[in-house]
Structure formats: C-alpha cells, structure tokens
C-alpha cells in the first residue's frame, strides 16, 4: 500500500481545504473591518477586534448570553440526574417493562422536534411558561434525555457489577458500594455525556425560535439569526464575530469528548 502516496495526499489536502474552509472563513471574516470586507476577499487572518466590540455592544447580546447559559446549564444538570437514575435502572436491574422502556427511549429519540414546535408552544402557553427559562429547559431536557439515557447506560454497564459486590462482601451497604466504587469510575462518562448535552442545548435553534419570541428572552442562536436577518448583508464582520463566539466553545468541547462519547455509544451497543 506504500507505493505512490502523493496522489492520495493531494486528494486529502484538497478535501481538507474544502471541508475546513467555512470555519476558517468565519474566523477570518470576524477579524476584518467591514469596509475591507466589501472589497476583494483577503485570505489571511489579520485585522481588528472592531466586530467583536459591535457584538458586545449590540442590543440583547448579554441577555441572550445569560439566557443561553442558564438554559444550557439547567438542562445539563436535570438531564444528567434523571438520565443517570434511568441508566442505573436499565443497566443494573432486570425488571418487567425494561425492554418497553428502552424501546420508548429509542422511538422518542426519533420524534422530529420540527413537528413538535407547534404544540410545545401551546402546552407551555397553557402552563404560563412561554418565554421562560423553565419552559425551554423542560423541553430541552425531554429532548436530550433519550440520547443521555442511552449513552449513560453504556457507561454504567461498562463497570462490572462484581466490583460493587466485592465491596458489599466487605460489609458496605449496596448504596455505599455504589457511591464509593461505581460512581468514581463513572465520572468520565458523566462528564462526557454532560458536555454532549451542553452542546445540544447551546446549539438549539428551532424550539428557542418559537418559545422565546421576545427579544429580551432570546437565546444566543435566536439572537444571532435576528442580527443576521436585520443586517441583511451589511455587517458580515459583526455576524461572523457573533457566529464565532457561539461556535468556538462548541468545537473545543466537541474535540474533547467525541472519542469518549463514541466509545460510550459503542459500549451501549455491545453490552446488554
């Protein structure tokens, strides 16, 4: 296979340039003054922080940032807690209805959010939770839960029950054995799954668009789209700076956890 590497490498290089270009272009544009953006494209990252100042001073940026952070963190906490309990139930116990629960989780996973946005809004309106952090959080928890349960189930199943049982032989209670032996081993899995839930909630646009329809209640993605729509191609520097601020944390988190989550997914697929 070692013969003639260069055509392959050349092909790979072309693919890399095409695939990475949008992210690169977003970064480069965000550092260029708008006056310059309107002349010919420049491909080197040089420039100014002016666009970031525009973003920070723009109406509702900070309230959107705060809303996004609150919803995201609350979603992570509640989703991890509820999913963890459910994952322990399905990975550690055999009980009637277990399979039915797993099937429900898989089915629910497939319900398109895009079809649910209409009635979710009506339901939240009825509970006086439209335009509220609580309302959006409930929705997000329900929609990240299937994936979180499924992934955590793999991680919990990956810790041998025998470890707990050994601790119980030494006189620990079952609960204590779980907290001192199993939980520490699960920490990396919980962190990875939590980061994944974070990414999902942070990125979410569809529900936030319809649930948070007052400017001061917007989350960052809704705020960005309003900025993008309002600018109508006149402030690409600002819009790209906003895009960068939303995207970069996600990419960093993603690079950190994707391998671990992939491993969790595989474990979930293999362990019974």
């Amino acid at each position: 296979m070692g013969r003639r590497r260069w055509p392959l490498n050349l092909a790979a290089l072309a693919v890399i340039v095409v695939v990475a270009f949008p992210v690169y272009w977003m970064l480069v544009t965000s550092f260029r003054p708008n006056s310059e953006i309107r002349t010919a494209p420049r491909f080197l990252p040089i420039g100014t922080l002016e666009n970031y100042r525009t973003v920070f001073e723009r109406d509702h940026f900070w309230s959107s940032f705060s809303n996004s952070l609150q919803v995201t963190l609350l979603t992570v906490v509640f989703a991890l807690f509820t999913a963890f309990l459910a994952a322990v139930a399905v990975a550690r116990f055999r009980f009637r209805g277990r399979l039915a629960f797993l099937v429900i989780v898989l089915l629910v996973q497939m319900v398109p959010a895009e079809a649910m946005m209409i009635s979710v809004v009506k339901v939240l309106e009825g509970w006086n939770l439209r335009n509220s952090i609580a309302g959006l959080t409930i929705t997000y928890v329900a929609f990240v839960l299937p994936f979180t349960v499924w992934t955590l189930r793999g991680f919990v199943g990956g810790v041998p029950k025998e470890l707990e049982e050994a601790a119980m032989m030494d006189g620990s209670s079952r609960l204590r054995a779980f907290f001192t032996v199993t939980l520490p081993l699960l920490a990396p899995g919980l962190v990875a799954t939590g980061i994944f839930a974070f990414i999902q909630a942070w990125n979410e646009f569809t529900f936030a668009l319809v649930i948070m329809d007052r400017p001061e209640r917007e989350t960052l993605p809704v705020w960005l789209q309003a900025f993008n729509f309002g600018a109508r191609g006149t402030d690409w520097g600002g819009v790209m700076a906003g895009s960068t601020l939303i995207t970069v944390p996600v990419i960093v988190f993603f690079l950190l956890v994707h391998r671990r989550v992939a491993a969790g997914m595989t474990a979930g697929a293999v362990k019974g």
Partner: protein, 325 residues
C-alpha cells in the same frame, strides 16, 4: 436534542455488526421480589420529564390536528372539533403534494450524496499516513461540530450575492457572477441547502465507516490485493459485505435527519426571500401555524411524524436484528 434538536448526527448508537451476545454465562435471574420497586422508582424522573416535555405535547398535537384552531382560538374561543377536515384539506391541496415531493427528493439527494461522499472520505482516511489522517480528521470534526445555525449563516455569507467569496472566485475564473443571487431561484437555493446538509452530515458517516473498516482484518485486504483485485473489486467484494449492516443503519439515520431539516431551509429562506417554491415539510408546518392556522399546521406536522415513524420502525428492526438490547 440529539438528532432531534439539531441535525448534526448524535442519534442512537449505530449498531455494530460484531455485537452478537457477548459470551457471558447467564446467571440465574434475580428474583423479582429482591429488586422490588427500586428500578421503577429510578425511572420515574425520566418518565416524568419525557411525559411533560414530549408525551403531552404529542397528545396535544394529535388533538389540535382534529380542531379548527385559528386566530379566534388564539384569543380564547373554544376550538371546535372538526374530525378529519384538516387532513382532508391538506390531502386535497396540490401544494401540499408539491411540498411533500420536494421534501422527499431533497432528502433522497442529500442521503445519497452524504453516504457516497462519507464512504469516499472513510476510504481516504483508511489509506492515509498518520499525519494526513489526523489533519483530515480534525477538518471533518470542525464540520461536524459546527452548530446548524452558524453553519448555515457562514455558508450564506460564502454565497452572498455582493461580497461572497464564491461569486468573487467564479467571476475571476471568467464567469459572470457579479451580484449573482443564489438564494432567489429554487434550484440554486436547494444546491446551497444540500451543500450545507451534506457538509454537516459527511463527518459522522465517514468516522463510523472508518471505525468499521479498521475492524476488517488486514490479511483479508492483502489477500484480495494479491489475488489481483483492484480498488473497486476490493470495495465490492470485501468492504461492502463486511460493512453492510453499518451502511443500512447510516442510511436509515441520514434519512431521518434529512427528512426534518428545518434550520437550514428556514434561514436560507429568510435570506433569499422565496418561501413558496422552497418550503419543505417542517418549514411548511411552521409557516402554516405562524399564519394562525394551528389545526392545519398540526395536521401537516403529524404527517411528518408518521413518515418519520415508518423510517424509524425500519431502523429499529435492523437494530434489534443485529444486537441484543
């Protein structure tokens, strides 16, 4: 929101082909009395969250689809039951069939392109040296990690009529693309939409297939090469049969994700100004509701749920066939 909240491919685990019952000797089942209520109690919070955030809204969706739910109902009037009138209205409307056909074609084109390009990327990954492979992986991860909304906005910028880099490049290459608007004609609109969806979808396919390819024993590939099998023959006779279950799962998942594309179409519509010729099912349901006809919107949304459900059942059958859950 996994597959649900965003389109970036975090669905249930792709079932791996080698997952047949791991050979642990079965221990006798613990008597039900010993586990008792505990597992059920552990499920309560999850079931409550799913019920409140998803189950109940789903019931409401079904109810709304059988009601006349317009502007007056928005202001508190009771919503009269109209039976299947909303569905009759949809199915009798040629425009609905336009939208449905458009959604299915868009989905099919995206799935095929995503799978083909993903396979090529996986093959490339499997034959590169370490350094190039890492570089390509990182580039793919960038595309995978970018949120659907910012991805769409960035592509919108790349294809911007006045200052976009694509028009600039094509003009330099001798074309007449000065001020060319990509988003105001349906065909080029969907070209850009497809580019975005495929760009975001290829990495997941590529990584999953690459992981599968590394499981194929090297000797098999070498033996095939020694037997004089060319690249295409090696793919057809060795890789394809070995990875077929993964291909099936990836095709099912991509279909599910591409059927419900919303963000990309919605944002491009806002930018390009044409909606009637570019509506897909999800956007159409949303716009119908935003036009204050919630009963009709709900009915369209339910059709979408129905189609998704069919694809899901197919997918689940494959999964259960391949592994012990």
């Amino acid at each position: 929101m996994t597959a649900v909240l965003s389109d970036e491919g975090t669905g249930p685990p792709p079932a791996l082909p080698d997952s047949r019952r791991a050979g642990r000797p079965r221990r006798p089942r613990p008597a039900r009395g010993r586990t008792g209520l505990l597992p059920y109690l552990l499920l309560v919070p999850a079931l409550a969250a799913l019920g409140a955030g998803l189950g109940y809204p789903l019931v409401r969706l079904v109810v709304m689809s059988t009601q006349e739910f317009g502007l007056r109902q928005q202001f508190g009037q009771p919503a009269p039951f109209v039976g299947t009138d909303n569905f009759a209205e949809i199915f009798g409307d040629p425009y609905f069939w336009d939208v449905l056909r458009r959604s299915l074609i868009f989905c099919a084109v995206n799935v095929v392109l995503t799978l083909v390009l993903g396979t090529l990327a996986a093959l490339l990954l499997s034959r590169l040296g370490t350094a190039m492979r890492t570089a390509l992986s990182v580039a793919l991860l960038f595309a995978w990690a970018t949120p659907a909304l910012t991805a769409t906005i960035v592509w919108q910028w790349i294809f911007d009529a006045r200052y976009g880099v694509v028009n600039w490049l094509l003009t330099r290459l001798g074309g007449d693309f000065e001020g060319h608007s990509w988003l105001s004609k349906p065909l080029s609109f969907f070209f850009v939409g497809t580019l975005i969806v495929v760009w975001m979808g290829v990495p997941f396919v590529a990584f999953t297939l690459y992981a599968g390819m590394t499981q194929i024993p090297g000797e098999v590939m070498e033996a095939a090469a020694i037997d004089g099998a060319g690249a295409w023959a090696r793919f057809r006779d060795v890789i394809w049969p070995a990875l077929k279950p993964i291909f099936v799962v990836l095709a099912a998942l991509s279909t599910l994700w591409d059927l419900r594309v919303f963000t990309q179409i919605y944002v491009l519509q806002q930018a390009g100004g044409i909606t009637r010729e570019t509506n897909t099912l999800g956007v159409y349901a949303y716009r119908t509701s935003a036009g204050n006809d919630f009963g009709l919107g709900a009915a369209i949304a339910l059709v979408m749920v129905g189609i998704t459900l069919l694809a899901t059942l197919f997918h689940l059958r494959q999964m259960f066939r391949q592994e012990e859950v």
